[in-house]
Symmetry: C2
Subunit: 355 residues, 2 copies
């Protein structure tokens, strides 16, 4: 039953019932260290990021470091807010903290659970280094945990980075991947010293989020329905990822899927010499939409070609067919390329957008 709390003017930081449910949920599933009063409900991570981009300059921070490769839409969003960005390379363990330190910036946006787009999970050593950096420069880590609920590796999923340094981390989560992006429901876990500032900025943007949606999401958490839903879709996405990997092994032995088995997309590293743009275009002519890795590379310089393939909205048969079409497209570039055998009626919706 919805009552005054949901129907009347809401609290700008969110419905107390949802903030309490989220604090418990994030503690339980991501080991986040928080209390309900440090949770803010936002219109997706986009609004959270917008508030942060308004807050950081007030703290004297005008540049935000980003992972490279990274989310080009997010980078644009951040720069449109007036913040500068500086790309920091990602290696097999995650963001290069030495390079981050050299950059002199005091705030960084990272995706430790499942780096976007490479899929790499930040190593324990790298997490420790990043936290040391934040403590030394009195800096801020923004942890975008956009798909942290989806983990298919046999070993346990690492805790949220926030658990290592709750005073230096803004943790950001979203219902965009677990439910649907259209809900525009996200949340921040905010360190004490930023809480008042972010609330003040938020209350200049709007008066809070839809109370009925908030109440419904609190119910999903409290009744265990979200857990059940996640178990169901997790198993579905795991199968899709497995089928995708099998298809890649069979059809594209020259490619390699890197990163953790997690999330809703895979990163295919292609052999040197592949013309990535031509491959993406050739795949699209076969009705398969994949994104080239170049799209996500910020610093200039040639890097190995790669493809980002989303598998959240394709049935199993479609996935195999899509990889077949990519092989077909790749063959066009190979010496003695065969002509495409057929046009496949497959459309791939891919790319993980800004939560």
């Amino acid at each position: 039953m919805a009552g005054t709390a949901e129907l009347d003017y809401p609290l700008v930081n969110g419905l107390p019932a949802l903030r309490e449910a989220l604090a418990g949920y994030l503690g339980r599933v991501r080991n986040a260290r928080t209390t309900p009063d440090r949770v803010m409900v936002t219109a997706g991570f986009a609004q959270g990021l917008s508030l942060l981009c308004e807050a950081l300059p007030l703290l004297g921070i005008r540049t935000l470091a980003l992972e490279d490769p990274g989310h080009s839409g997010q980078r644009r969003f951040i720069e449109q807010s007036g913040m500068h960005t500086v790309p920091i390379p990602v290696d097999a363990e995650g963001i290069d903290v030495d390079r981050l330190r050299e950059s002199g910036v005091r705030a960084v946006l990272v995706t430790p659970a499942h780096q976007f787009p490479t899929g790499i999970t930040m190593s324990p050593q790298r997490r420790r280094q990043l936290v040391d950096w934040a403590e030394q420069v009195d800096g801020l880590i923004i942890e975008d945990d956009y798909d942290g609920e989806f983990w298919f590796e046999p070993h346990p999923r690492p805790s949220a980075l926030q658990s290592l340094a709750p005073g230096h981390t803004v943790y950001a989560g979203t219902a965009s991947k677990t439910l649907v992006p259209g809900l525009r429901l996200g949340w921040l876990v905010i360190p004490d010293h930023l809480s008042h500032l972010l609330t003040r900025i938020r209350s200049r943007h709007d008066l809070g989020s839809d109370g009925i949606t908030q109440r419904a999401f609190a119910e999903l958490i409290n009744t265990g329905m979200l857990d059940r839903h996640l178990r169901r879709v997790r198993s579905r996405y795991r199968s899709r990822r497995e089928v995708l990997l099998q298809a890649v092994a069979q059809q594209l032995p020259q490619a390699k899927v890197i990163g953790s088995s997690a999330g809703l997309h895979a990163f295919l590293q292609l052999p040197a010499g592949v013309d990535e743009s031509a491959l993406v275009a050739a795949a699209l002519r076969r009705s398969v939409l994949v994104y080239g890795a170049q799209r996500y590379q910020f610093a200039p310089g040639v890097r190995p070609a790669g493809l980002v393939v989303g598998y959240s909205s394709l049935p199993l048969a479609g996935l195999s067919a899509a990889i077949f079409a990519v092989r077909d497209a790749l063959d066009e570039q190979a010496p003695g390329a065969r002509p495409a055998l057929r046009e496949l009626p497959v459309t791939e919706r891919t790319g993980v957008l800004l939560g």
Copy 2:
């Protein structure tokens, strides 16, 4: 059935289905002149106003004129955004356009249907003057139509001011009064020349509003359920207003309800010499929450005392009891005041907050 349009990342300006439904609805019930592409769905009027406060300085407008008396919460909200405000007096016909012209500002926020808090409906002459002003100074009128759906006068409700000057008016509506504030659902109708700018600013704040709530509201409009709901609550609010007026006539003959019979609150003008703050405090001791007119007065200077009484959430019997308590409180100030007879278990939720 919700589909990709509602569930996937939304269009930042709103779901096409809702923008189309709103364009039809606003044309039908408020004679607004618009097409769906000029409607933006917002998180209540608060977000719309926040976007406008960010847009106006980019047009060289750093001061927004406000009605005086007016909405003190809105004024604070606007000033916190960095805009300056200048109060312009309201008389029996609405905002004083001569004073507005003298102020030299180029943007004004008005409540033509039912001025907040006085309840005055802007006269046709004053509307014409205001539109002439906007055309002459190339200015902008922000029309806050916060309770335009509630009209109880026998003569027809005047059209939205926007219909007279769609190129110089941003019309703002909200579901906060017709349904509940907790939905955080509002809309702007934007002149062509501002449309791109406001979309650009919006897309720096968030990625759009909750698609499921938007779809549900479009259904309410398209199925006629909103109309039926409004017929029902309109008749309920009309009765409450009538009972309130009767109680005032009987218990407080020295007070006068001014303004149109419309909306969800009434403005009681009190006789000269009444100590407004003492009256509000004495009413509160009797568990009746009313707001003194002073709360809404911006420019310094003594003006007649008044009370703002909301009647949207009190049953009929409670309204009479509340006015009885106000009389009782007023009697404390009169020579030969009687002691209060009893404490009434009535709580009045009043004041029309920022849509």
